[in-house]
C-alpha cells in the first residue's frame, strides 16, 4: 500500500490553483499526477509518486553521495585485503 515510485516531470499544469497537476514519465509510461504539495517542483525533476500524488522531489546529490560511499565501502575492503589484513 505504501508503494511509491519515482518518475520524471515532463510538464506542469498550474491552471487549477487547488490542484496543481503534472505529466510524469515512469520509465516510458506517462501519467497525470498531482504535484499540489511540491510548490518548488520543476520540469526535469524526479518526484516520488504515491496513489496519484507526488510526495517529494528526489535529492540527486544525496543519492549520488550514498552510492559513492557504498561503492567505496567495497574498494576500501579490497585495499585492506591487498595489504594483507
Amino acid at each position: 500500500m505504501c508503494l511509491a515510485v519515482p518518475g520524471k516531470v515532463l510538464s506542469i499544469d498550474d491552471s487549477n490553483a487547488g490542484l496543481k497537476m503534472a505529466k510524469v514519465d515512469f520509465a516510458g509510461v506517462v501519467k497525470e499526477v498531482s504535484v499540489q504539495w511540491l510548490p518548488e517542483v520543476e520540469v526535469g525533476n524526479y518526484v516520488l509518486i504515491h496513489v496519484g500524488m507526488a510526495l517529494n522531489i528526489l535529492d540527486e546529490e544525496d543519492a549520488l553521495e550514498t552510492l559513492k560511499l557504498l561503492k567505496e565501502m567495497g574498494e576500501f575492503d579490497a585495499e585492506l585485503g591487498k595489504d594483507g589484513w
Binding site: M1, C2, L3, A4, V5, P6, G18, L19, A27, V33, S34, Q36, W37, L38, P39, Y46, L48, H50, V51, G52, M53, L55, N56, L58, D59, E60, D62, A63, L64, T66, L67, L70, K71, M73, G74, D77
Partner: protein, 371 residues
C-alpha cells in the same frame, strides 16, 4: 540517475552484506515496520545476505491487514446497495469480512470499482450525480493525505454524492504498542521510508529515547534495506539508540509540510482498533467535524453489524512480530492467497502472502524471485 536500478546493484548489496557481517558480534532482533519492506526482503531473499545472528521480524505496516473487521463488514454492506458506486484500492477486495468479501459483492452485481488514485473516485462522483459514490479510504500516513485531498476536492467542487469510509492508522503509536508487549524482543527498528516522506521523523526521537532503541528511516530497494540494517546493527554494537535517516534522497526531518497541513485540516487523531491487535490509543485519523458530511458511516445505516473473525487465524501475533506465518499449521493449506483466512494472506505486503510467494523453498518448492 533513475533512482531504481542503482539501488538494486549487486556489488553494493555485496559490500553492505560484508559490512554487516564484519560489525556483528552477537544476536540482534530487528523489526521492519512496513509491509513493503517485508515484501522486498522476501522477494530479494535479503535474509541470505545477513549473518545468522541477525533476526528480522516483520511488523504491522500493512494497512490492508490491520483494517478492522467491522470496517470491512461496513464496506460490504454499503457496496451491496443499488444506489451506490463503491470505489476502493484493489488490495481491499479480497480481504475476508465476517460473511463475505467485496469481490463476492462485485461478482453478485455490486458496482465496485478499483481505482488508482483517490482523485479518480471524485471524478466518478462528478460523472455519476444520480449515484452515491463511496471511497474506501484506508492507509497509513503515506496514503492518508491523498485520501484527504479527495475529500477536499469533493468539497471544493460542491459534490453532495461523495463520501469516504475512513480507516487510517498511524505508525508511531503502533511501535510503542509493540515495544510495550512483554514478550517483545525487538532491539531496533527500520522505520517506514514512505510514511516518513510525508511525516518526517521528528516524532520518532522520543520513542528512541524512551525505549533506548535505534530507529533508522529506511527505503525499499535491496540496497536501501541493507543500508538501514547496517546502521541499526552499528548502533546496537556501539550501544547507541538514535534516530538516523538511511533514505536521505527522499526523506527529510520535517517531511512534506504541505501534505501534513492537509492532514491537520481534514482529520483529527483518534483511538483506533487494529485488526488482530486490538485498540491502540490515539493511533488513527478520523474525519474532523468540518468534513462530517463526507463520512459514509453517518450517511448509511451500518451501526448494527456483528462481526465474526476466523478462530483459526494467528494474524494478530504475526502482525506484532510474536509469531512467523509458518508457525501456523493451516499456512499454505487451509490458508492460501486464493482462500485467505486472514488479511495478511491477501495483500502482497502481508507477511503471510510474502512468505507464501517467496519462501516456499522452506516448504519444498522454488522461490519466485531472487536478487
Amino acid at each position: 540517475m533513475k533512482y531504481v536500478d542503482e539501488f538494486r546493484d549487486r556489488e553494493l548489496v555485496k559490500n553492505l552484506s560484508e559490512g554487516i557481517h564484519k560489525i556483528t558480534t552477537r544476536e540482534w532482533c530487528i523489526m521492519e515496520i512496513c509491509g513493503g519492506q517485508t515484501h522486498s526482503i522476501m522477494r530479494y531473499s535479503l535474509e541470505e545476505f545477513l549473518p545468522e545472528e541477525i533476526r528480522l521480524v516483520h511488523g504491522p505496516g500493512c494497512p490492508v491487514c490491520v483494517t478492522p473487521l467491522e470496517i470491512i463488514d461496513k464496506a460490504v454492506r454499503i457496496a451491496q446497495r443499488d444506489d451506490v458506486i463503491f470505489t476502493s484500492y484493489g488490495d481491499m477486495l479480497r480481504v475476508p469480512g465476517s460473511e463475505k468479501d467485496l469481490l463476492s459483492v462485485k461478482a453478485g452485481g455490486g458496482d465496485i470499482r478499483i481505482i488508482y488514485s483517490p482523485l479518480d473516485a471524485v471524478k466518478i462522483a462528478e460523472d455519476n450525480p444520480e449515484k452515491k459514490v463511496v471511497f474506501f479510504a484506508i492507509g497509513f500516513e503515506t496514503t492518508a493525505p491523498a485520501n484527504a485531498m479527495a475529500v477536499k476536492e469533493a468539497d471544493r467542487r460542491g459534490l453532495k454524492n461523495f463520501s469516504i469510509l475512513s480507516s487510517h492508522v498511524l505508525v508511531p503509536p503502533a511501535m510503542e504498542a509493540i515495544l510495550s508487549v512483554e514478550e517483545s524482543r525487538i532491539q531496533g527498528f527500520l522505520a517506514a521510508g514512505h510514511v516518513c516522506t510525508v511525516m518526517g521523523y521528528e516524532e520518532y526521537l522520543p520513542i528512541a529515547e524512551k525505549y533506548r532503541i535505534p530507529i533508522v528511516v529506511t527505503g525499499f530497494e535491496p540496497v536501501d534495506i541493507l543500508k538501514g540494517i547496517h546502521q541499526v546493527v552499528l548502533q546496537l554494537e556501539e550501544g547507541r539508540h538514535e534516530v538516523e535517516n538511511a533514505y536521505g534522497r527522499v526523506v527529510s526531518l520535517e517531511g512534506n509540510i504541505h501534505a501534513k497541513k492537509v492532514l491537520r485540516e481534514v482529520y483529527e487523531v483518534s483511538d483506533m482498533k487494529w485488526r488482530g491487535i486490538g485498540n491502540i490509543p490515539l493511533s488513527g485519523f478520523s474525519l474532523s467535524g468540518r468534513y462530517d458530511e463526507f463520512n459514509a458511516e453517518n450517511i448509511f445505516d451500518v451501526g448494527d453489524i456483528q462481526q465474526q473473525e476466523s478462530p483459526l487465524c494467528i494474524a494478530g501475533e504475526v502482525l506484532q512480530g510474536l509469531k512467523k506465518p509458518g508457525d501456523f499449521p493451516a499456512f499454505g493449506k487451509e490458508c492460501k492467497p486464493e482462500h485467505p483466512l486472514g488479511a495478511p494472506m491477501v495483500s502482497s505486503e502481508g507477511a503471510c502472502s510474502a512468505y507464501y510467494r517467496f519462501k516456499k523453498s522452506e516448504t519444498g518448492s522454488e522461490t519466485e524471485s531472487t536478487i
